[in-house]
């Protein structure tokens, strides 16, 4: 194997990996972005993701309809969001602490209810082939795209547009930047935050259902392995911009595919290092993008970590 075909294989694998692996990152980070835009942090999305994966799989198994599973996963996610929104409304409650509690609660609950679903095989989401123009099997495989990925792109563009150009977008941004100003405008701050957190939970739940119903496509307890937490970090370096969230999710997907792809072409020394690529990437971007002399550009003013 020469250098060129090897390099092409890795690039193709990273491209395919970006499309395959990025969807949960995208949905969770869009959900977290929306919640943070309204002035709260929901660290519990990891738990929401895992519970969404479990509930989506269970519903798909019982009803035979994976799309119903996706919907129920989103609905369960919004319930977790509602719980977070409700608890944080109470006086002197810290949203980060509640988030961590909900993360553990969500994963624990998912493991508890998920036991009977580890073995059975549930119907999975279909994919759409965009690669029929190519006769390269790798490219054809890479372009087997799940509708949820496309939905995620549409959602990112929609959120980007809606946050800037609609009345609701303005209300959310105002609430997130200055609660007193929002109050003065007659906005019910708590309700806006509750609804934003619920919507965020809905997206994260859908992200979870992608994990169990499409890729890797089965429910196991190790399914998420921290992807929900990474997606939360991803929001910060995406600068609370939905479009950047999309690029960041793609980057994370590609980084995750790097380790196995390099091993498949024979570059196998130091695979632990390449497997850690997504985490190293998180650190590097965090270091490169922070400065003690200025606050993060685009950060909502009400966020408890930036206040």
């Amino acid at each position: 194997m020469g250098d060129d075909p090897g390099l092409m294989t890795v690039l193709l694998a990273m491209f395919a990996g970006a499309i395959r692996v990025s969807t949960p990152f995208l949905f969770v980070s869009l959900g977290e972005m929306l919640t943070e835009k309204s002035g709260r942090i929901n660290l519990g999305l990891e738990g929401t993701l895992v519970f969404g994966a479990m509930s989506g799989y269970a519903i798909s198994y019982h009803t035979g309809s994976p799309w119903l599973g996706v919907l129920v996963a989103g609905f369960c996610g919004s319930l977790f969001g509602a719980l977070h929104g409700f608890l944080c409304k109470l006086p002197k409650v810290n949203d980060i602490a509640i988030g961590i509690a909900l993360m553990l609660f969500g994963t624990g609950l998912a493991f508890f209810f998920g036991k009977p679903y580890i073995q059975p095989s549930a119907p999975r989401l279909p994919s759409i082939s965009f690669g029929s123009w190519s006769d390269h099997p790798g490219i054809r495989q890479a372009l087997e795209i799940n509708p949820l990925f496309l939905l995620g792109i549409a959602l990112a563009v929609f959120l980007w547009w809606a946050l800037r150009n609609t009345r609701f977008g303005l209300i959310i941004r105002t609430t997130g930047d200055s609660a007193p100003a929002a109050l003065a405008l007659g906005i019910d701050v708590n309700r806006v935050r509750l609804l934003s957190t619920m919507a965020g939970g809905f997206f994260a739940g859908i992200g979870g259902s992608f994990l169990s119903l499409y890729y890797p496509g089965s429910w196991t307890e190790g399914l998420s392995s921290g992807q929900g937490l990474m997606a939360v970090a991803l929001v910060i370096f995406a600068r609370w911009n939905p479009i950047y969230c999309f690029w960041a999710a793609l980057l994370f997907g590609a980084a995750g595919a790097l380790g196995p792809a390099l091993q498949s072409i024979g570059v196998s020394r130091g695979y632990h290092f390449f497997n850690a690529a997504p985490y190293i990437l998180t650190l590097l971007i965090m270091i490169a993008s922070t400065s003690p002399r200025r606050s993060l550009k685009g950060a909502p003013g009400e966020l408890s970590i930036t206040k």
Partner: protein, 370 residues
């Protein structure tokens, strides 16, 4: 193998004698099985469709022994956490026999506790115990590489690209040995076969396992197998990519109705049932229990739709040969870096202790262990 059986018996006898001697010295004895509490520690969930499930299902045999109480804990990581779990089983539940079912539990955790609690018996599921280790510790193990060798034979006759893919968790002895035996099986029937291995670095990491499986298919492999705790993802990925696969740990045949060839399964129930009988009869458990097809500790999954007539015939014949003691490691075999492992005409017994310490891949396997 007869030689092996002999040594197991001898150990069994001598340790039973040893225990009888000990019990007269006032130490607790299994003879009064009443009051025996068995603690079992698992690294993952007990129903993972793989390693832990195979143990949990088989260990249920112990629960039927009168007077034996079983306490179990799952999802215990291979860290200091397992030491705490085992200590709490000993101190709070009164466990006097511990089964530690994951590879990384042994050193240093089982060894430390065995020294700290000389009255408690420890048994660990990997062929790691040696004479130098505490006498209240021990190992039990099925030599799954024999079943992976049979998989390799069936896979070698099923591939058209001559490239077989192997998704492996960690580069430890038993995993490397399975990979080597898989290649030797394939090479026996198909001298051009190669095995490409990708290590994920974790016992259970579903997204990375799926990525690894896809990368292997993209690299041209047309038969996949794996050594991870829950092979579900690898098998389902192989099936969805339209290639064949061989299972691991438990039967994954229903997951791949088109491409499943056969699989390498432990038969832990033989071992646990044997232990249960020993306990019921008040005998001590042997320090070292292990074996393959010959003592019914491993088995092949019934053939799936992916197995051809030729593959079935060759695999069945090879299984009988292994059962009769014919060696898997027959020279000439070189290690990956070209240094000879066995010269032509040499061979290693299937229970050769040196194979337990496998720290190399052999020529024909691509992939690095570092």
């Amino acid at each position: 193998m007869s030689k092996f059986k002999l040594s197991r018996r001898t150990i069994l006898k001598s340790s039973a004698a040893g225990l009888a001697a000990l019990s007269s010295a006032g130490l607790p004895r299994f003879a009064q099985a009443a009051g025996l509490t068995v603690g079992i520690v698992y690294v993952g969930p007990r129903d993972d469709f793989g390693w832990n499930q195979a143990h949990a299902v088989a260990a249920a045999a112990l629960k039927d022994v009168p007077g034996v109480t079983v306490v179990e804990e799952e999802n215990v990581p291979e860290t200091i956490a397992v030491e705490k779990s085992m200590e709490s089983m000993i101190n709070l539940d009164g466990a006097n026999l511990i089964f530690a079912t994951s590879f990384g539990y042994y050193k240093p955790f089982v060894l430390d506790l065995a020294a700290k609690y000389p009255d408690v018996q420890f048994r660990h599921a990997a062929p790691l115990w040696t004479e130098a280790d505490p006498k209240n510790a021990g190992s039990y193990f099925g030599y799954l590489d024999q079943a992976h060798y049979i998989d390799g034979i069936a896979a070698g006759l099923s591939t058209t690209t001559n490239k077989l893919g192997f998704v492996a968790a960690k580069p430890i002895g038993t995993v490397l040995r399975n990979i080597n035996s898989f290649l030797l099986g394939a090479r026996k029937v198909n001298p051009d076969a190669t095995v490409q291995v990708i290590f994920t670095g974790e016992w259970s990491m579903p997204v990375r396992e799926a990525e690894a499986a896809n990368a292997l298919v993209d690299a041209g492999c047309d038969v996949l197998t794996c050594h991870v705790d829950g092979p579900k993802v690898v098998i389902e990925t192989a099936e969805s990519r339209g290639i064949k696969c061989c299972g691991h740990n438990a039967s994954q045949a229903p997951l791949a109705p088109n491409g499943f060839i056969t699989g390498a399964e432990y038969k832990w129930e033989t071992i646990y049932k044997m232990f249960a009988t020993d306990l019921a009869e008040g005998e001590a458990l042997p320090n070292f229990t292990g074996g393959g097809f010959d003592v019914d500790f491993v088995r092949s999954t019934p053939y799936g739709a992916g197995a051809t007539e030729a593959a079935i015939a060759a695999a069945d014949a090879a299984r009988e040969e292994v059962k009769a003691g014919q060696p898997i490691f027959v020279g000439p075999i070189n290690k990956q870096d070209g240094t000879p492992l066995l010269a032509a005409g040499e061979s290693l017994d299937n229970y050769e202790p040196a194979l337990d310490q496998t720290d190399y891949l052999i020529e024909g396997v691509s992939g690095s262990i570092t």
